[in-house]
Symmetry: C2
Subunit: 167 residues, 2 copies
């Protein structure tokens, strides 16, 4: 068994718009990242594929190319915003290399592919919990990744601070 901790570790954190993934990143920074080792932190954002819009009458020709490009542009803005926010959270790291990566596609596929492609030693992500009904059909992103990637997966849930909203 190799001594992973003293070697370079490639720690991938899947970030998205949600607060939970930022909490996962912060938990990882405090609990997993070691300033003494040669860790590389990879911040990955999966840009959702262009959504399929269906109009009420099913015709679906509602969006002009102007609007389509506005959606695309918005999507890029979101990606940049998420990655910038995540990078800011890592600004105090001294000895850790921080890399960022934005890839388009279903987050489930993107994350699994990137773990493999970039040789991550551990994947960190929020629990990405859908509601009960949606989960029954789709499965959550974190479940899918935990089942399909080869490396250890750390799934972090944001603690609920509002007890009333804790359902």
């Amino acid at each position: 068994m190799d001594d992973v901790a003293t070697n370079e570790r490639r720690i991938m954190v899947a970030v998205d718009e949600g607060e939970e993934s930022m909490y996962a990143l912060s938990w990882c920074l405090k609990n997993v990242i070691s300033e003494n080792s040669k860790d590389t932190l990879i911040l990955l954002y999966a840009k959702p594929p262009r959504p399929v819009f269906t109009t009420l009458d099913g015709t679906g020709y509602l969006f002009s190319s102007d609007i389509r490009s506005a959606i695309e542009s918005h999507s890029n803005d979101v990606a940049e915003c998420v990655i910038e926010k995540a990078k800011r959270m890592c600004k105090d790291l001294q000895n850790v290399k921080v890399q960022t990566r934005v890839e388009s596609g279903d987050p489930r596929d993107v994350i699994c592919q990137m773990v493999d492609k970039l040789g991550a030693n551990v994947l960190v992500m929020g629990s990405h919990g859908y509601g009960l009904i949606k989960r029954a059909f789709l499965g959550s992103v974190s479940n899918h990744c935990a089942q399909n990637v080869k490396c250890p997966v750390l799934i972090v849930k944001k603690p609920t601070t509002n007890v009333a909203g804790n359902k």
Copy 2:
């Protein structure tokens, strides 16, 4: 957000007979446990409930009390053996308190309950993967726990060293 890393962390590792859970423990020792902090490591073994034996003709009165107590005794031996093996792996820890706990019941329930009861800050476990078909019906222990515990869950898969057996 509290600075968990400098406070006492309660790290629970669910161990069982399988090599994967021991690999998860070793990964945790190298990558999560910090000798500088006041970590407490809790080794938890869920002793499976007494299995229900059904004879081929459905009568089920096959086992005498002698045999039942032999099964019970074997089950205790296994629990002790697993816990001892896990403790040996932790023998080099200097500043980390190691606690052990054996509880009877379905591992899914036992692990979730103990995380809550003992106030674990992170749960570490093997992926406990069943085969595809069994998983479709039962779900895996790790999936269940990842969905149901409140704290971060680290799911560790044992890397397959034998490529031929890597299906």
